[in-house]
């Protein structure tokens, strides 16, 4: 989006002070308390550059447009989830209609580990706020090209999963190297599906990376890629756990680093993700991000225990980062030129098997994902998924997803597959998500009932 000067930065602060995963969980009531104190005390909401909005709820269909919640959306979401997603949607709408210049959804609960199929909570997330917002923008406003930059210390594997086959959504995630932190993925060779090669970019960084090297990556890798891709809308999944005091991450980014990062990326909308140093990082990092988005001077935002000398990078590490950047730039040059791996092709479909672990809810999911290789459109997806809930009974579900730009043939094939699966009775639940017509159908074999939602 073009930045309109003189317009305000939209802010939704929704700390969900009455919602927690469990009383002592990092994702608990207290998480944004000190952030609240800091931004209220600074008088941020009074600044002429800021417009505070109140959150509203996302609809069940807004969720169903993006996810397959098993068995239904209502079973995987609480009101807090709908409010967090609703906040992102509300701000995004105001931005694309030109009412505000950009926005920050400072909300809980987070979402970037939530994948397309949702059997439960993984990595503190049930539904993916950014993905839901992006699909809403494309459906409602016809936004064409979207870039999502995930700056959380953890790999945004949920967002990656949802847009893996989507050539119009560029997903870039930098994070602490997956060999050292949850969820253990996000390596450079994870580059997206056969029809969206290099639309997924992963930048694993060594533990201990500080502002200097991070900003090198932004300047020399992320910004050039964005310039090539020319997105109509830029989203920042703004996790704050790269901070040098975060208890879960091991990086060394400061509030100043976050402010500069935000300023350089210039996102249309930032959405809060992780960040669990609730006292030592969040009040400062959130301030820094808000000021940077609003174009205000952020140089005086400083943590009490910050001094620059502490964060000097060694020449070794800097060299490593430069090599990494060159390697990924090379992948980016190969976009649209890589044929799919022939070993993964079965007939007209590209197949992959996935195992997904839900750490919070202790669920193991097995997936067979099949992409129709269509010459006229990005192709529809057919997913068979089975979740093992420990001792609980496991069941199989079938999910059919038709992309926005689907051709008529893919649409009718997916619909046919849905009706076939219904008839066969081989799956507990069958779903058809047609983004091109904004219709969602769900069917329960147990009750024989079908339900539908639409935008």
């Amino acid at each position: 989006m073009k930045k309109q000067e003189g317009k305000q930065t939209g802010l939704i602060f929704f700390p969900a002070f009455d919602w927690a995963i469990s009383p002592t969980h990092p994702e608990r009531e207290e998480r944004l308390l000190y952030t609240r104190d800091q931004i209220f005390e600074e008088g941020i909401m009074d600044l002429p550059q800021i417009h505070e909005f109140t959150a509203s709820l996302a609809t069940v269909h807004d969720i169903a447009r993006t996810h397959f919640c098993v068995p239904r959306v209502e079973d995987q979401t609480t009101e807090a989830h709908l409010i967090a997603a609703g906040a992102a949607i509300l701000l995004a709408g105001r931005i694309v209609t030109g009412q505000i210049k950009n926005g920050f959804a400072l909300v809980r609960p987070p979402g970037h580990h939530a994948m397309r199929v949702v059997h439960g909570n993984r990595g503190f997330c049930n539904i993916n706020n950014e993905a839901i917002m992006v699909e809403y923008l494309r459906s409602r406003y016809g936004v064409k090209r979207v870039a999502i930059i995930d700056t959380d210390v953890h790999h945004g594997d949920g967002t990656q999963n949802i847009f893996w086959h989507d050539p119009d959504v560029l997903f870039i995630s930098f994070h602490q190297d997956g060999r050292t932190i949850y969820p253990g993925t996000g390596f450079t060779h994870e580059l997206g599906g056969p029809r969206a090669f290099a639309r997924t970019i992963n930048i694993p960084l060594q533990p201990g990376t500080s502002d200097e090297n991070l900003l090198y990556v932004v300047d020399n890798l992320i910004l050039p890629i964005l310039a090539d891709f020319k997105p109509d809308f830029i989203v920042n999944s703004a996790g704050q756990d790269n901070h040098f005091t975060d208890p879960l991450g091991s990086m060394r980014i400061s509030a100043q680093g976050y402010a500069k990062l935000t300023e350089k990326l210039g996102p249309d909308l930032a959405v809060l993700e992780g960040g669990y140093a609730i006292e030592t990082a969040l009040p400062y990092v959130n301030m820094a991000i808000i000021l940077a988005l609003a174009g205000l001077d952020y140089t005086n935002v400083r943590e009490p225990d910050y001094w620059p000398e502490r964060f000097k990078e060694s020449p070794d590490r800097s060299l490593q980062v430069r090599k990494l950047v060159d390697q990924i730039l090379h992948y980016w040059q190969l976009r649209d030129q890589m044929p799919p791996d022939s070993r993964s092709i079965r007939g007209q479909f590209y197949e992959r098997n996935k195992r997904i672990f839900y750490d919070t809810d202790y669920i193991e999911e097995e997936q067979l994902e099949r992409l129709k290789l269509c010459d006229h459109c990005p192709g529809y997806l057919a997913i068979d998924s089975r979740a093992n809930h420990g001792i609980a009974k496991s069941g199989k579900v079938k999910c059919l997803s038709v992309p926005f730009k689907a051709c008529a043939k893919c649409r009718s094939e997916a619909a046919e597959a849905y009706h076939q699966a219904k008839k066969m009775g081989s799956h507990q639940y069958v779903y058809l998500q047609d983004k091109s017509s904004d219709i969602f159908l769900g069917y329960s074999a147990g009750s024989g009932k079908e339900w539908q939602s639409g935008g």
Binding site: I12, F13, D46, Y284
Partner: protein, 558 residues
């Protein structure tokens, strides 16, 4: 018997209430010498009354608002301790500012120490420039007052006689820039306000009135005259608060109503939701400066009976200024009041002159006097209606920070449009019909503001914050910091302590408060978890005396 007096910009109104009946009313022009107007109005309503039977006299006044608008106050220097955060260059408050090193964080911990040398050199500068009033305001000072107090102690030593106000005593809520403004305006208006209160004291002494005397605050509560000296800024906007309470006393209980007070050049709007005046979620805005002063949600729209009218293109525009009274009252130019007169919606003013004004205004457009008046009427009503709608919208869109708050948001629309103030009440019917409401001109509408003053009750509130990990608590209203002996201090104990402190404060305000009546308006408890164990609790509790009015006005007898 109670007397209510509203000292407005144009008129000073007074009423005498006895057992919820209006015994007498008065409306006199406000003179340059307020004392004269107050005496004049009081004399009318107290005619034949034994002043010994008076229980209370309550004043509402625009005094402070005017003082600030005209900047008739003293020069004050600000010593600010903002620490890290927003750029210090943004702290421009239209007066002398010195930024001091030092900082307190959100938990009330000292994170940067004061620099004594820097303080002393700032004080030398102030003494050179002849300042005798200083405000010391720190970021997060309501969480820890020690830095502000230390600076005050140094000032006392180095600049004896200099009057010092502390942010933590006057702006206890979380909002540093508003704390600075609130403290500044309080300090700056103390002296002139003191003179004003003295003239009220004199007026009452002259008439040998010994009743309790109160001043109305922006939030619709009252405070005793003596306490008003400490917090003059709390009395801004007591005019709109007075008319809102007046309407509250005059409409059926539980009603949702819009209060429309159409004055000469402005129209004040306020909302009564299910019988209770709506409080603004943020502090009052005084002359474009944001404060922490608790206030009713009132909105001032720059249109009134005497607004100037002009033709522009093939329509008219309403000017923001006032050229004089309405043409039909002998003024120089056409006004909305002339339109009302032409349409027969008021008897005030000369009909012939009103027609003349409307004819002249509509001439170029080939409109008759009646047609022009109709258009003007429409414009004024539309303008006010859209402002009313946006007030409801603002209220609906107040930010919510809890799941249940978001879920219970609902759309509310008024049932009544209550017109007060006397001037231009002809517009009320029209506004009500646009809003699909019933119009209501209460009995005694012209003096509804004085009635509001008379029925107002004293209110005090108290906010306590306890941090059991650091084992201390702090009282927002006066910055008192106490120790907690036990880290297991519970929410229940905090509530008891807050109530106890409120009762003590009530005594100081001369209030007879029944502990049973205390309302808890805010209660927030967070468990602090560090490394998976509970290390303490943050408890925030606000208690207050009940809001409300002394009674509903029964059938009026004059």
């Amino acid at each position: 018997m109670n007397v209510g007096v509203d000292v407005g910009g144009t008129f000073t109104d007074a009423v005498l209430l006895e057992n919820n009946l209006v015994r007498a009313t008065a409306k006199v022009p406000t003179r340059r010498d307020l004392l004269v107007s107050v005496l004049e109005a009081i004399d009318v309503v107290l005619k034949g009354v034994d002043v010994k039977e008076l229980d209370r006299v309550v004043f509402s006044t625009t005094m402070i608002t005017n003082l600030i608008a005209e900047r008739k106050f003293e020069d004050v220097a600000l010593l600010l301790i903002p620490g890290p955060g927003l750029a210090h260059e943004s702290y421009n408050f239209g007066t002398k500012v010195h930024i001091l090193s030092g900082a307190i964080d959100y938990r009330g911990r000292e994170i940067i120490q004061l620099n004594d040398q820097e303080i002393e050199s700032a004080l030398m500068d102030l003494s050179r420039q002849g300042y005798s009033r200083v405000c010391v305001v720190g970021k997060f000072s309501p969480r820890n007052t020690t830095q502000e107090k230390r600076v005050a102690a140094i000032i006392e030593k180095k600049l004896p006689g200099c009057k010092v106000d502390l942010g933590s005593m006057l702006g206890g809520q979380l909002n540093f820039p508003r704390r600075v403004v609130t403290t500044h305006l309080t300090s700056a208006t103390r002296e002139p306000y003191h003179h004003f209160l003295n003239s009220i004291r004199q007026a009452l002494a002259v008439r040998k009135i010994n009743a309790d005397v109160f001043i109305l605050k922006a939030d619709g509560g009252t405070m005793p005259l003596e306490n008003a000296e400490e917090l003059p800024i709390e009395t801004v906007f007591s005019g709109p608060a007075a008319s809102t309470l007046g309407v509250q006393a005059l409409i059926p209980p539980g009603e949702t109503a819009v209060v429309v007070d159409i004055g000469g050049t402005t129209t004040d709007l306020a909302l009564i939701l299910s019988g209770q005046p709506l409080l603004s979620s943020r502090g009052a805005k005084v002359e474009n400066q944001l404060t922490q002063v608790r206030t009713l949600a009132v909105k001032s729209v720059p249109v009134g009976g005497d607004s100037s009218l002009e033709r522009a293109g093939d329509g008219f525009i309403i000017g923001t200024g006032r050229q004089g009274p309405a043409y039909c009252m002998g003024g120089p130019a056409p006004t909305p009041s002339d339109a009302l007169r032409v349409l027969g919606m008021t008897e005030l003013g000369d009909l012939h002159r009103a027609e003349e004004a409307m004819t002249a205004l509509g001439q170029v457009l080939n409109l008759s006097a009646r047609e022009t008046a109709g258009t003007v009427m429409e414009m004024v009503a539309t303008k006010i209606t859209s402002e009313i709608n946006s007030m409801f919208l603002d209220w609906e869109q107040e930010p919510a920070y809890l799941v249940w708050e978001v879920l219970q948001k609902k759309k509310v629309r008024p049932g009544l449009v209550a017109g007060v103030g006397g001037g231009a009440s002809g517009f009320i019917t029209r506004i009500a019909s646009e809003l699909n409401c019933d119009p209501f001109i209460p009995p005694h509408a012209p003096v509804a503001n004085a009635i509001g003053a008379a029925v107002a009750k004293p209110t005090i509130q108290l906010s306590l914050r306890a941090d059991t990990e650091q084992r201390y608590y702090i009282i927002q209203e006066d910055g008192f910091q106490g120790k907690l002996g036990d880290k297991h201090f519970s929410e229940k104990e905090a509530l008891l302590l807050a109530k106890e402190k409120l009762l003590a404060r009530a005594v100081k305000y001369g209030l007879d408060l029944d502990p049973e009546e205390i309302e808890t308006t805010h209660r927030e408890v967070f468990n602090m978890i560090r490394d998976w164990t509970t290390t303490g609790r943050l408890i925030d509790i606000t208690v207050q005396t009940p809001r409300g009015i002394t009674g509903r006005i029964l059938q009026g007898v004059e």
